[in-house]
């Protein structure tokens, strides 16, 4: 399990390779990359700054990765979340899951992303023309996260 919070860009391919190198038991690798978009709800975004709660952010992510490991038979997980100022097109977050079968890898990656969106202590501030403001939590993200609450893990 690899969990990192960093200002620097990440190399998604290298992280995925690191999970599978030298192994022949992995049949499925799912990589999710979240990218800073140049507009939100139709309005342009010039940049965003990500703030986090050092210590708690790492611990929360590690706890959720552990939770994913109890729900699905995973053979590797990597989560990297960037912080600091990011421009449209910049990568924000990376989740890589490896398993024998694709269903487990897909489910775990979605689970981790849904939790990261709603429970990991990160906050986004957007710079828009003429206004800078904190991004409001999206109800759709809460709904997505809630589906795992009573889930059976399949």
């Amino acid at each position: 399990m690899t969990v990192r919070i960093q200002r620097e860009p990440f190399d998604a391919a290298a992280e995925a390779k690191a999970l599978t190198a030298g192994r022949t038991d992995i049949g499925a690798v799912v990589t999710f990359t979240g990218i800073c978009r140049g507009s939100d709800d139709g309005a342009p975004v010039a940049a965003m700054t990500l703030e986090h709660y050092p210590g708690m952010a790492e611990a929360e992510i590690e706890r959720h990765v552990g939770e994913a490991g109890t729900r699905w038979p995973l053979l590797g997980v990597t989560v990297i979340h960037r912080v600091g100022r990011l421009l449209p097109g910049d990568d924000i977050v990376l989740v890589v899951t490896a398993a024998s079968h694709r269903g487990d890898a897909f489910a775990a990656a979605e689970f981790l992303m849904d939790w990261l969106k709603t429970r990991a202590p990160f906050w986004k501030k957007e710079e828009r023309p003429g206004a800078t403001g904190w991004v409001a939590a999206r109800e759709a993200d809460d709904t997505a996260a809630a589906r795992w609450e009573s889930g059976t893990g399949t």
Binding site: E51, M56, A57, I92, M113, K117, A120, P121, A136, A137
Partner: protein
């Protein structure tokens, strides 16, 4: 007993600082009571905590509820709903 309070995102901006040491008075036993007490400490705090329902808290870096007791905690954090990912 003294505890460290951390503020993040717009709670931090409104309070005007990222962290401070506080000594909650007797009778302040829960997260919600601590927010009430902080809100009375001045205009910037009143502004930060004006809509307490949307503010989340963590006790010693674990998510807490409004009715969670603060006794024994060394660090409490207040922040808006999270928007990571």
């Amino acid at each position: 007993m003294s505890m460290k309070v951390l503020y993040f995102a717009w709670v931090r901006e409104r309070v005007g600082k990222a962290e401070e040491e506080i000594v909650p008075p007797e009778g302040v036993g829960t997260v919600a009571e601590l927010m009430d007490w902080l809100a009375g400490r001045g205009e910037e705090y009143a502004h930060a905590f004006e809509n307490r329902r949307v503010i989340r808290a963590a006790l010693d870096q674990a998510h807490a509820r409004p009715d969670s007791p603060i006794a024994g905690a060394r660090e409490i954090a207040f922040f808006p709903p999270m928007t990571g990912g």
